[in-house]
């Protein structure tokens, strides 16, 4: 180590010594082993306290320091606006493989809230849960805060010095022994940097691995077209959609959900809305939304795809009938596709083997959908080769001693690499290992060097969306802990002396598109958050049909054999969000499970194995054993157990450590998505899970009103005939002149993704309470998404219903409050006055919707500095002992009103957008002034589908719902998914 660097290290070490004295515990946070033991038992607030001081040291200084470079605000220009009001900046985040365009709110220089960027194709103004929660990661006190060398605090200069000395040797033999391992790279700048690095060191290699990757999609393209392609679906054009194990509604990204729902908005009285067939193994949001859903084993999908192809007159090798789906159903489905040729679409899940993708391409081609409902572009990834193979190659090279320097840029391979590759052990053989990541995680612990990474709100970069549209990722704040970006590390490797991600990105684009006036272009790009016309060009390709005649890759499963299916976790994805409290506590859309993953299996299998919820089972697969709690999921395919990835982290941080079980231990490079023949053994232990909704049937009550479009068109009034609202009142009605705020939630548009819940949590400073408190039933979400099942356990109809405060005009809660802590305002808002509340909780008793949340303990963390910085300054942080609930985002209403009053005019419709509404991918939530007959909310409420929840109580809610309409295929009605309830649910 260079003496200068050594001094620097020494210096920093000394200051840390002082830190030790000031705040010993925070520095002595136990090692992964200890944390794993009882992270659950740990009281979250308790350990967050420990971090307070170290934070004030690390954070306070940088807290609200703007980046040195010029960053361009999105709407509220000019940037030097001095009234202290919030500014919005356009940026983009690549959280799960492709980019979503964002507008990030900056309060006094602190990024506090994420919204979607309306002009970004992947967002159109909406966001998924990951984007919403990403701002919490920025302020996470557990983020890595210093460069470490073999676990000891070191400096960036020290790394640079080491790398430079290393490079001198490397350049001798053309970089042989140098390996770069990245996650999926969509950033043009990063890609070009990597290429130039490979030019500089021809013998070096760039490997790419991300556990949730699109290898199969690319290989499917290879199979069908002879080249890897990126299928891009146009659901807005599709009338009949067949989903083969694809969750295009759920998962990461929101554009497809928006397109799909927009196309079938039955509520608009459109005569002929679309129809969705879902054939899938693990229940997904798409399946829940489908008009017909057929649960089949993962491994049976190929056979079904082939059968479908056959039914549509495509050549085929085998003639076996599809085992799982009734021939009649399949035929009907095929006919539906046929009749809607050109307006139909077959989509395949990323996890499905290449052949299924290829089959879908062939079918879509046959149906003439290509160019209409699906187009093809080059892959968004800069390097679409198989990532599993890439990693395998890397490991092989290491084993063969061909690797001497390994630079890991982002990602956590030690944790998430396929277990058979034994990556962790191999890593030890590499002489020099450097790991750049947001957290000091499992991989950092096994690398010689760890470099704290700059959060995407801290650093410059660029990234591509699902359609290739590029965005500049501009930071809103200078790195809190001196984090570096991958660009900077690569610049060092490229021998640049003053590494700057800003320069890297600018230079790339300056070269890439030689525009005359670059500065204007640049400012515009930053301002809009999108680079115009940067999406990838559409390709016209001919389908090869040879593969159709090849024998099936997946033989039909043996009867007793059980498949193990690997899926990204609905809320913490592949584990990268494991330390994000909001996502950990967000009920998983279908299971309503929080703070844990579980072995999900269907009722039939559970019955066969004599398993109940929360039973502990041993999953034994290819020699590896993992114990997991059971959670029975109605509608899960029989003969398969689904485990979600991302849990069982050991160095995620204090939130994520030791939570759940690590399914990666069962995941093999040969069977990354579905393994055959997992053995399940029941132990006699139990494992308590924290679930937020315990009762899944509607008990003959009708919180969710649903009917089929056919019936609705026959007799529109039938649906709500029993509606008894409004009943007479003894009191004369309040006039509510001026504004009358109201909300309408369209159940026919709601896909249950829960983005609203997270958006609300982030907007309204809603604390998380931890697993034990959730188990007690004390979660604090202001808007919850209820999930009901109807029909048999094996193939239930699934309904979602977001439930915020109803803002009843005859609010039962207000009448019983002894201290006037909850009252009505002149615009009809049901207000909660925190500082007046004494906490009798009578209001919650009297709330028939149970939307009120009580601070049973001091939930809001008032110690941790960085979390303070994250909060929305316009919303009170509640103390223990007070009631809280949805306010219709009163702070947003007020801001909008202030603006309107400045201009001395009435608020226009759409000027007030609640957090949940803004985040909703499908626009299911509409908010506005009920007194304005032309407002969207008024027209929604005028619909024949409009109904009030529990109207018979005469609470006169301001929030009402639009009933759910399904559109089953009349010819399949008898076999249709909506078969009457045979068994009732627990």
């Amino acid at each position: 180590m260079a003496p200068a660097a050594a001094d620097a290290a020494l210096l920093l070490w000394r200051s840390l010594e002082e830190l030790h004295e000031r705040d010993a515990p925070s520095q002595r946070t136990p090692g992964p082993a200890h944390q794993a033991v009882d992270a659950l038992a740990l009281d979250r607030r308790g350990f967050l306290k420990l971090m307070a001081a170290s934070l004030s040291l690390a954070g306070a200084g940088a807290c609200s320091r703007a980046p040195q470079q010029t960053i361009v605000p999105y709407v509220r220009a000019p940037a030097q606006l001095l009234d202290g009001g919030p500014l919005y900046f356009a940026t983009a985040a690549n959280l799960c493989g492709s980019a979503v365009g964002l507008l990030v709110k900056s309060d006094f220089g602190r990024p506090t809230k994420v919204e979607g960027n309306p002009s970004h194709p992947a967002s159109l103004g909406a966001t998924d849960i990951f984007a919403q929660a990403s701002v919490l990661d920025l302020w996470d006190p557990d983020r890595s805060q210093a460069v470490t060398h073999q676990g000891q605090v070191s400096t960036w200069d020290a790394v640079v010095a080491t790398l430079n000395t290393k490079l001198n040797h490397l350049s001798a033999e053309a970089g042989a022994g140098l390996r770069i391992l990245t996650e999926s790279v969509t950033s043009p700048t990063l890609a070009s940097q990597l290429r130039s690095l490979l030019e500089r060191f021809p013998a070096a290699r760039w490997h790419q691995y991300q556990p949730i990757n699109r290898d199969n999609v690319h290989e499917g393209g290879q199979l069908a077209f002879g080249e890897p392609v990126e299928p891009r679906y146009h659901f807005d054009q599709a009338r009949v959609v067949v989903s083969l194990d694809s969750d295009f509604l759920g998962g990461a990204g929101v554009r497809y959900a928006r397109d799909f729902v927009a196309a079938r908005r039955a509520a608009d009285g459109r005569p002929d809305p679309g129809r969705l067939y879902a054939i899938e193994c693990t229940p997904t949001l798409s399946g829940a939304f489908a008009d017909h859903r057929y649960p089949v084993r993962f491994s049976e999908i190929e056979a079904i795809a082939r059968a479908l192809a056959r039914a549509l007159g495509l050549p085929s090798a085998d003639t076996q009938e599809s085992p799982a789906v009734a021939a009649a159903a399949l035929a009907g489905c095929a006919r539906d596709l046929q009749e809607n040729a050109g307006r139909s679409l077959v989509v395949v899940g990323d996890a499905q083997p290449p052949i299924v993708h290829a089959l879908a391409h062939a079918i879509n081609h046959k149906l003439g959908n290509v160019g209409r409902t699906v187009t093809f572009t080059a892959p968004v990834l800069a390097q679409p080769d198989s990532q599993t193979e890439s990693l395998r190659a890397l490991v092989a090279d290491i084993a063969a001693g061909r690797v001497d320097t390994l630079i890991i840029l982002e990602g956590n391979p030690v944790y998430c690499a396929p277990t058979d590759l034994n990556f962790a052990a191999q890593l030890a053989k590499v002489a020099l290992t450097v790991h750049l990541s947001l957290y000091d995680d499992e991989t950092s612990a096994r690398c010689e060097w760890h470099i704290p990474q700059a959060h995407f709100l801290e650093g410059w970069s660029d990234t591509r969306a699902f359609d290739g549209t590029a965005s500049i990722q501009q930071p809103l704040i200078a790195p809190l802990y001196g984090g570096k970006s991958a660009h900077q590390v690569l610049q060092v490797l490229l021998g640049q002396t003053a590494p700057s991600d800003y320069q890297a990105v600018r230079e790339y684009w300056r070269k890439a598109l030689a525009v005359a006036d670059f500065e204007t272009f640049w400012d515009d790009a930053l301002h809009r958050g999108v680079l115009e016309g940067s999406q990838l060009p559409t390709k016209t390709l001919a389908v090869k049909t040879e593969f159709l005649l090849e024998a099936p890759t997946q033989p039909a499963p043996a009867g007793a054999e059980v498949d193990i299916v690997f899926a990204p976790d609905p809320t913490i994805w592949d584990g990268r969000f494991a330390n994000n409290g909001w996502l950990q506590e967000l009920p998983k859309p279908l299971t309503k499970l929080t703070w844990d993953n579980a072995a999900l299996l269907g009722p039939a299998l559970a019955q066969r194995l004599g398993l109940n919820n929360e039973d502990r089972i041993e999953l034994r697969y290819r020699g590896a054993v993992v114990t997991a709690p059971v959670w029975i999921v109605p509608g899960h395919a029989d003969g398969a157990v689904t485990v979600t990835l991302g849990y069982g982290r050991t160095r995620a941080g204090r939130i994520g450590n030791g939570v759940g079980f690590n399914a990666y231990l069962l995941r093999h490079s040969g069977a990354p998505w579905c393994g055959r023949g997992v053995r399940i053994r029941k132990t006699n232990e139990q494992y308590r899970l924290a679930v937020t909704q315990h009762h899944f049937t509607m008990e003959g009550r009708s919180p969710v009103r649903a009917t089929t479009i056919a019936q609705f068109q026959r007799d529109p009034a039938a649906l709500l005939r029993d509606e008894r609202s409004p009943e007479p009142s003894m009191y004369e009605p309040e006039p509510y002149k001026g504004y009358a705020w109201a909300m309408s939630i369209n159940l026919d548009a709601c896909i249950g993704c829960s983005a609203c819940t997270i958006a609300c949590q982030s907007e309204n400073n809603i604390p998380i309470v931890g697993k034990t408190e959730v188990r007690r039933g004390r979660e604090m979400h202001w808007i919850r998404v209820d999930r009901y099942y109807q029909g048999g356990m094996d193939r239930p109809q699934t309904y979602f219903q977001p439930v915020p405060c109803m803002h009843c005009e005859h609010a039962p809660c207000e009448a019983v409050c002894p201290v006037e802590a909850t009252v009505h305002d002149s615009e009809g808002l049901n207000l909660q006055v925190y500082n007046r509340c004494v906490g009798t909780r009578f209001c919650s008793n009297n709330c028939p919707y149970k939307v009120r949340r009580f601070n049973f303990l001091q939930y809001a963390d008032t110690e941790t500095e960085s979390l303070k910085a994250q909060r929305n300054p316009e919303v009170t942080v509640r103390m223990r002992g007070v009631m809280e609930k949805c306010t219709y985002c009163v702070q947003r209403i007020t801001n909008a009103r202030v603006e309107a009053e400045k201009a001395n005019r009435r608020l226009r419709d759409g000027e007030v957008v609640t957090a949940c509404q803004a985040a909703c991918p499908t626009g299911a939530i509409v908010f506005g002034d009920r007194n304005d007959p032309h407002s969207r909310v008024s027209s929604a409420k005028a619909s024949e589908l409009d109904y009030a929840l529990l109207a018979e109580l005469n609470t006169r809610p301001r929030t009402t719902y639009l009933a759910k309409l399904s559109n089953p295929n009349p010819e399949l009605e008898k076999t249709g998914a909506s078969d009457p309830a045979t068994e009732t649910l627990p």
Binding site: H694, H695, R701, R778, R784, V816, V819, V882
Partner: protein, 472 residues
């Protein structure tokens, strides 16, 4: 004054034979049998306080209850430090043990004032001997009951916001909230009971003052007696005041428990929203109140050998009252179910069924057993005349009444309108600590009472004697 005391006794001795003589030759189902004179009454009752040595059982019981009392206040301390989250509460079950205890205690508080007041008004002579400790019971139970509305608050230090007073927020209580009604009801009931009790105690304090040997004791009781000297006109005023307070107490007591009933009835929660609640709660309160009075009566009678004052006839009458109230209660249970069915309200019906079949069904059936079935034993005269059986039954009833309140509160809350919001309540160690702590505290106060105050009203016993002699 002190010099007076020694002479008082001999003169009393002198008096007793002939007074006793008059006793002997008077017949009738005596509420005051045995050889009793004015002197012996004073002797016996004041003796318990002044001369009798502290019994061993008392010391042991007192230490035990002191321990429980410490637990009680310890738990309260922790509650204030951490918040109500230390209990098993959640959404939807935001009330559980806290309000259960509140209703239970306030119901126990019912009987005391009611017994003495009602019996006083109806000139039931047999009330004389039990009214004093019944009143004491009322006040202690009420004091404890009054704590729970404060303890259950999320921010207990702001409890006074329920009171109307000019404040910087220039806000008033929300008068239509039953909790505000509660505030006033408890306030009125507590003050009235105290005054009623004290008014009765003053002459007895005078007796203690005059019979006390030790100066300090004389001064203590002397102060409490306010210098009472038994002037005819003073008696006259006291009598009418006593009568008035009695007259006021009865409707007040009824209103207090109606208000407690309204705490639930005004809510829209299925299982609560019912007009029979106020009378139902009054009946329940009398029931448990009488039961507690029975418990204590039997114990005192045994402990201080008071068979002469708390006679079999007393217990018999109490038992009959309990039986009657039990029947009223049984009726209201039936009516609850009938009303649920008759309302044809889906939610009411579900709640009724859920009580019998749901996860809390054991509680429901246990309470039916304790409150409806067991008391039927009181039809038998033999049972009514065996104190220890009565004691056992009264305990069972009190347990049953606690379960009843728990059932009433929790089963209604845990499954109301939206199935998605249904939940369960499981008590924590702190829930139990507060419950048993409060019982210990109650017993602790009673022990102090029997040790330092005349546990039977000497005045009223003298009146009784006079009435009996008047008869001769």
């Amino acid at each position: 004054m002190s010099s007076a005391a020694p002479e008082a006794l001999p003169s009393a001795m002198l008096a007793s034979p002939e007074a006793a003589g008059r006793d002997r030759d008077q017949a009738g189902a005596a509420l005051l049998p045995g050889e009793h004179s004015y002197a012996s009454i004073s002797e016996k009752i004041s003796g318990i306080v002044l001369t009798a040595p502290t019994a061993r059982w008392w010391t042991i019981a007192f230490m035990l209850c002191s321990a429980l009392t410490l637990v009680f206040f310890g738990a309260i301390g922790y509650l204030f430090y951490k918040g109500v989250g230390i209990w098993g509460l959640n959404v939807p079950v935001v009330w559980a043990f806290d309000i259960t205890n509140y209703v239970w205690w306030i119901a126990i508080a019912m009987s005391g004032t009611f017994i003495s007041a009602a019996l006083h008004l109806t000139r039931q002579p047999w009330g004389a001997s039990i009214s004093r400790f019944a009143e004491a019971m009322t006040i202690f139970a009420l004091a404890i009951a009054g704590m729970f509305p404060i303890l259950h608050l999320g921010r207990p230090w702001f409890f006074y916001w329920l009171a109307p007073y000019p404040n910087v927020m220039s806000l008033w209580p929300q008068w239509r909230s039953p909790l505000v009604w509660d505030f006033f009801a408890i306030l009125a009931y507590l003050l009235l009971s105290l005054m009623f009790w004290y008014l009765g105690l003053i002459p007895d304090f005078a007796t203690l003052r005059d019979r006390a040997r030790r100066r300090s004791v004389q001064i203590a009781y002397g102060l409490l007696a306010l210098g009472w000297r038994g002037e005819a006109r003073h008696w006259q005023r006291r009598q009418s005041a006593h009568l008035l307070l009695a007259g006021l107490a009865v409707p007040l007591v009824v209103s207090v428990h109606s208000v407690v009933g309204l705490d639930f009835a005004t809510g829209n929660t299925p299982g609560w929203h019912s007009t029979i609640f106020p009378p139902f709660f009054v009946a329940g309160a009398m029931f448990s109140g009488f039961a507690m009075a029975m418990t204590i009566a039997v114990l005192l009678r045994r402990a201080f050998d008071l068979r002469d004052f708390i006679t079999d006839r007393h217990l018999d009458n109490l038992a009959k009252l309990i039986l009657a109230m039990g029947l009223v209660l049984a009726y209201s249970y039936v009516m609850e179910i009938f009303m649920a069915w008759y309302s044809a309200d889906r939610y009411e019906i579900y709640t009724a069924l859920n009580r019998m079949r749901g996860p809390y069904a054991p509680v429901y059936w246990a309470l039916i057993l304790c409150v409806v079935v067991v008391p039927q034993a009181l039809w038998s005269r033999r049972v009514r005349h065996s104190p220890w059986v009565l004691f056992a039954i009264s305990i069972v009833i009190n347990v049953g009444m606690w379960l009843e309140r728990f059932m009433l509160i929790v089963t209604s809350e845990h499954r109301d309108f939206l199935p998605s919001a249904w939940g369960m309540f499981y008590p924590t160690i702190w829930d139990w600590a507060i419950l048993f702590g409060s019982i210990g505290f109650f017993a602790w106060l009673l022990l102090l009472f029997v040790r330092f105050l005349p546990l039977i009203s000497m005045t009223e016993m003298r009146e009784l004697l006079a009435r009996q002699q008047g008869g001769s």
